[in-house]
C-alpha cells in the first residue's frame, strides 16, 4: 500500500510539474481516438477519412479548449453523414442542435462527457460511464451521458443502415429520415440504457455522498449491480439482445475503474475514523473525521561536509550546544533540522553515514557519505561538530 501511495504522490508531482505538456498530450490522444473511431464506424467521406487529417485535427485540438474536440468530432460526423445522404445529415444536425441549445448552455465543460460516453459505447463498455460520472460529477451530468448514448445510437443506426440509405433514390427522402429517426425513437434498447444509466448515476452519487465507511466502494458496487439488474430486466422485457457476459465484464471493469478513481481522489483510512462530539453556545456538533492516507515522498539529500581548518580558531569559542545540531536543506528547498541522534533509514550506508530526509524522520550525518557515485570524506570524526557548525554558518 505504501508503494502505491508513493506512486500516487509521484504521479501527482509529475502532473503538477509537467501539466503544460501532459494536458495537450491527453487532449491530442482523446481527439485522435474520437476521430479514429468515427472514421472507422462511419467513414464515408474519403477525403477526411485519412490518417494525416486525423493527426492534424487532433494536434489542433491539443492546443484548443477541450470543447473543440467535441466540435470537431461533431463536424466530422456531420460530414460523413452528408456523404451518405443529405437527409441523414439534416437529422444529425437537428439532433446536435437540440443538444447544443437545450443542454450545453448550462455548461460547456459537460460536452466532453458526451464524447467520452460515445467513445466508450463504441468500444462496447458504456457501463463504465455512469459509475465514473456518479463518483466524480453531480447528478446533472446524467444529461450529457444520455446525450452521448443518443449520439452513439444515431451513429450506429447510420452505420448499420448506410448501404440501404445509399441505395435509396432521391425521391425516398422521407424514408431515409424515417429510417434514422426510427432508430432513435423506436429503440427500446436506447430507452433501457438511458433509464439504467440515469438511475445508476443517481444511486452512485447519493451513496458516495453518505457519511458511512467505505461509501465510495459501496456506491460503485451498488451502482454496478443496479445497472446490471436494470439492463437484464430491460433485456427480458424488450428482448434487446444484450450479452450477459459482456455486461458482467463491463460491470467488473467499471468497478475496477471506480477503485482507481477512489484511490486517486478519495484515499482515506477508515481504520482511523475519529468520532468527535463538542458544543458551543448555539450548537452540538457530532463530527466524523476520517484521515486521508498520505505519504511523504522520500527526498534524498547529500550532506556536504567540508573541512576548513583555517576557520576553526574563531569557531571554538561558539557554544558547544551546536555540536549536536545541523541544518540541511532538502531538494524542495524546505529547511529541515536534523540531529545527530536520529535514525538511519534506507540508502547506501558505507561504514559511516548517509543523509536521507523524509518528512517524518530525522536524519543522521556522520563521517563520510556515499550515495550513487558521490563520495565525500571528513578528516576526523572528532571534528564533526565543527563541520556541522560551518554548515550552519554557511546557511
Amino acid at each position: 500500500m505504501r508503494n502505491l501511495l508513493e506512486l500516487r504522490e509521484k504521479l501527482k508531482k509529475i502532473y503538477a510539474n509537467h501539466e503544460v505538456y501532459i494536458l495537450p498530450i491527453l487532449k491530442f490522444l482523446l481527439a485522435f481516438l474520437a476521430l479514429k473511431m468515427l472514421n472507422s464506424r462511419i467513414g464515408y467521406m474519403g477525403s477526411i477519412d485519412n490518417l494525416g487529417i486525423e493527426l492534424i485535427v487532433a494536434l489542433t485540438c491539443s492546443f484548443l479548449p477541450t470543447t473543440f474536440i467535441v466540435v470537431f468530432a461533431g463536424l466530422f460526423s456531420l460530414l460523413h453523414m452528408y456523404a451518405i445522404s443529405l437527409e441523414v445529415a439534416i437529422v444529425g444536425l437537428g439532433v446536435y442542435m437540440v443538444m447544443f441549445f437545450l443542454f450545453f448552455r448550462f455548461g460547456t465543460k459537460d460536452a466532453i462527457i458526451v464524447l467520452i460516453t460515445t467513445i466508450l459505447a463504441m468500444m462496447g463498455i458504456p457501463v463504465v460511464m455512469p459509475i465514473v460520472v456518479g463518483l466524480l460529477a453531480s447528478p446533472l451530468a446524467a444529461v450529457p451521458v444520455v446525450c452521448g448514448l443518443i449520439v452513439y445510437t444515431m451513429i450506429s443506426t447510420i452505420s448499420i443502415n448506410a448501404t440501404t440509405i445509399s441505395s435509396m433514390g432521391g425521391d425516398e427522402a422521407t424514408a431515409k429520415l424515417r429510417l434514422i429517426l426510427d432508430g432513435l425513437i423506436e429503440n427500446p434498447g436506447l430507452i433501457v440504457m438511458i433509464a439504467s444509466f440515469v438511475i445508476t448515476i443517481f444511486i452512485v452519487y447519493f451513496i458516495r455522498r453518505m457519511s458511512v465507511a467505505y461509501s465510495w466502494t459501496i456506491a460503485m458496487v451498488a451502482g454496478a449491480i443496479v445497472n446490471l439488474v436494470i439492463l437484464l430486466v430491460g433485456d427480458l422485457m424488450y428482448n434487446i439482445n444484450l450479452s450477459l457476459f459482456v455486461i458482467f465484464l463491463s460491470s467488473l471493469l467499471a468497478v475496477a475503474v471506480g477503485k482507481i478513481i477512489e484511490f486517486m481522489c478519495f484515499c482515506v483510512d477508515y481504520s482511523r475514523i475519529e468520532t468527535l462530539q463538542f458544543e458551543d453556545e448555539e450548537y452540538y456538533y457530532y463530527v466524523k473525521a476520517i484521515p486521508k492516507m498520505l505519504v511523504a515522498e522520500q527526498d534524498k539529500t547529500v550532506k556536504r561536509i567540508n573541512v576548513q581548518r583555517n576557520n576553526v580558531q574563531h569557531k571554538t569559542s561558539e557554544p558547544i550546544s551546536h555540536q549536536s545540531r545541523i541544518v540541511s536543506e532538502g531538494k524542495d528547498g524546505a529547511v529541515k533540522r536534523s540531529t545527530t541522534q536520529g535514525n538511519v533509514r534506507q540508502g547506501n550506508v558505507t561504514k559511516n553515514s548517509v543523509t536521507k530526509n523524509s518528512a517524518t524522520k530525522n536524519s543522521v550525518t556522520k563521517g563520510s557519505v556515499t550515495i550513487g557515485n558521490e563520495r565525500k570524506r571528513t578528516s576526523d570524526s572528532s571534528n564533526d561538530w565543527l563541520d556541522d557548525y560551518e554548515d550552519l554558518e554557511r546557511f
Binding site: 442542435m97 437540440v98 437545450l102
Partner: protein, 128 residues
C-alpha cells in the same frame, strides 16, 4: 524583500481569476433578479428554436402522411395542440433554467465573496 505571504495570496487570486473566477465574477456583476431574467429570456429563445427543430423533424418524419391528410386535418385543433405542447415545453425548460441558475448564482456569490475577502487582505498588506 519578497513578501512570501503576499506572493502566496497574489498567486491564489490570480489562479482564481484564471479558473473559477472566469465563470463566477461576471455572474456577480448582476442583481439576482436581472441575472435570472436574462437567463430565462435566453432559455425562452433557445426552447423556441429547439421546439421549431423538433416540429420540423416531426413533420419530415411523417411528411407523406401529413401531406396526404393535409385537407382532412382540423388545422385549428392541430395548431392549438402544437401551442399547448410548445407552452408546456417552454415552461418546463424555463423552470429548470430558473432552478439551475439560482443555484449557480448563490454559488458564484459565495465564491466571489472569498475572492474579495482575499483582495481586501492583499490591499491591507500593500498599505503596510
Amino acid at each position: 524583500m519578497v513578501n512570501g505571504d503576499k506572493v502566496i495570496l497574489m498567486t491564489r487570486l490570480a489562479s482564481y481569476e484564471k479558473k473559477e473566477g472566469k465563470k463566477y465574477i461576471p455572474v456577480t456583476k448582476f442583481f439576482r433578479s436581472d441575472y435570472l431574467s436574462m437567463q430565462i429570456m435566453k432559455s425562452f429563445l433557445y426552447a423556441t428554436l429547439v421546439f421549431g427543430i423538433l416540429v420540423g423533424l416531426f413533420v419530415l418524419y411523417d411528411f407523406e402522411i401529413f401531406m396526404e391528410d393535409l385537407y382532412k386535418i382540423d388545422i385549428i385543433t392541430l395548431v392549438l395542440n402544437i401551442i399547448k405542447y410548445y407552452i408546456t415545453f417552454v415552461v418546463v425548460y424555463c423552470i429548470a433554467t430558473y432552478v439551475l441558475f439560482s443555484i449557480r448564482y448563490v454559488k458564484a456569490k459565495k465564491s466571489v465573496k472569498k475572492y474579495y475577502h482575499n483582495l481586501k487582505k492583499l490591499n491591507a498588506m500593500q498599505k503596510k
